[in-house]
């Protein structure tokens, strides 16, 4: 079995030079399974109550993004040498104003249910772990 590395996003926020999002190996592994089931996928970071503050994973295009969203990065989960399997990671612009100083790591934990996110039936859900980004701080 091949060892999977963390997948770090490309830089897509205009004017920036460092990535903002990464997938852990366990995340990549789960996403490859879900990709086989649902086809191309995307993430939109949620806020608000109950299942909020979670990254929601949808079939690509199922959630229509708009000018009110920021593309935080693109992440390719394809195995080395395989055809690209690229997911876009989105967040609403208003939420980004409060999140922009943190780097996001998408992890997988045991759990039950998460809006219409596609991983829920597997008995797991995606979860964000955060760390401060170099050179960024809360906008005091």
């Amino acid at each position: 079995m091949s060892v999977i590395d963390n997948v770090v996003a490309s830089v897509t926020v205009p004017g920036e030079t460092i990535p903002r999002v990464e997938f852990l190996p366990v995340t990549v592994e789960l996403l490859r399974t879900l990709w086989d089931q649902y086809g191309p996928l995307m993430f939109h970071q949620s806020g608000g109550c109950c299942d909020g503050s979670s990254p929601m994973c949808f079939p690509e295009g199922d959630f229509r993004t708009s000018d009110q969203d920021v593309l935080l990065g693109r992440l390719d989960i394809a195995p080395a040498g395989g055809a690209p399997q690229v997911l876009d990671f989105w967040m609403s612009s208003e939420q980004f104003e409060y999140w922009s100083h943190t780097f996001l790591t998408v992890d997988v934990v045991k759990g039950r249910g998460s809006g219409f996110s596609v991983e829920a039936p597997e008995g797991v859900r995606f979860m964000i772990r955060s760390r401060l980004m170099d050179g960024f701080g809360p906008q005091l």
Binding site: G52, Y98, V109, G111
Partner: protein
Amino acid sequence: MTIYHPPGSPDSKVTFKPRYENWIGGEWVKPVKGQYFEDISPVNGKPLAEVARGTAEDIELALDAAHRAAPAWGKTSATARADILNKIADVIEANLEMLAVAETWENGKPVRETLNADIPLAADHFRYFAAAIRSQEGYFAEMDGSMTAYHYHEPLGVVGQIIPWNFPILMAVWKLAPALAAGNAIVLKPAEQTPVTILMLVELIGDILPPGVLNIVNGFGVEAGKPLASSPRIRKIAFTGETTTGRLILQYAAANIIPATLELGGKSPNVFFKDVADHDDAFYDKCQEGFVMFAFNNGEVCTSPSRALIEKPIYDSFLGDAITRTKKAVLGNPLDTDTMVGAQSSNDQLEKIMSYIDIGKQEGAKLLLGGERVDLGGDLAGGFYVEPTIFEGHNKMRLFQEEIFGPVLAVTSFDGYDDGISIANDTLYGLGAGVWSRNGNIAYRAGRDIQAGRVWVNNYHAYPAGAAFGGYKSSGIGRENNRLALSAYQQTKNLLVSYSEDKLGFF
């Protein structure tokens, strides 16, 4: 003090069935694909029952049943429907302890809350909407001497409802009562974290409602919620949950040109003005309790007062007293009536709360209390428990801006009225808020200046039927818990009637 026996034990008020099906057309129906999932109790982390894992096929069956039932149900008299709602309320009341213990076991919240809030409020909510529909009148306007415009309330037909897991029965009832009162047939999907107690309720009230008027399909959002929300066979969708799914539901509603009501949470400020500390009296004690309300329902409330804003002159003393008060909040067995803080609803919820405690520390917020997961040991060792946690920090920190949905409070100070209101309104959300002052003028002004749908003034976390509830800003669209909710489930029919023999004269 009472400690209820856990479900399944010989003396328990509750016995769960090993397996729960979908409720369609007035009977239990197995899921078309024959799949089930485990419902986990957060009290001990163990499965309590199996539940049907519904899919689009089951949603279609439920919609078939609802469409069969809707025409006749929509033509019943308001009197008959009110009578049914009152009967449902009586049944809920007669089964108060059973439903309360079951709700606590499935959700993890303390039984003192289910006994005194969730279940009694659910019963009262049905009674409120029974009264509301009985007393609702159409209206007319005289256009001129021979023409009158009559306005009738008509049901929408078949509606979809998607329910959250934090108050599984009560949140279902908030949506069911107005929809039924208004004469709609319903397809409802409970949260996959907490489907069973709604099914226990429907088992009790199933024979009161005509078959097909209320249909319940269980399952996951992507497999059952999505086909319901996106179906062209519903005339309205109601959802309580988070922002991304809320937007998605609006997109589906747009495709079908149907209305949607959304309740999407908040980050509610709880604002304490300096005069609350003018006297050490009963009111000061009430304010202190108001501060600790962040731990109510383990913090799993859309309106949780998760940002405490304290005016500078009293900041140290008020906060000091409040921390002492919070330390007295008893965390323990949710089935013990002395317990004030129970289990978080699921493992992933617990993990998310811990991740926020981590980012709070990284951002430089100062941990004043708690911050750890708790192992209660014994039979409860596998449960999901977190200490009530208090951080001091700044409103721009993520801790202050995101709904953690756990017993985690972010505290900061403010310098005068304008600063207090400015911090209170510096949030994406606008669902709830608290204002505390002995000065009626200040309390009034603050209540009006805070951009939120519900501002509690000198109280918090009361949810009486009749008080309108809903969000400003990104907290959603629409109002529940008040007769206004009827309009979300009704069409307006205008009959424009001419009482004249004279032609218009155009042709």
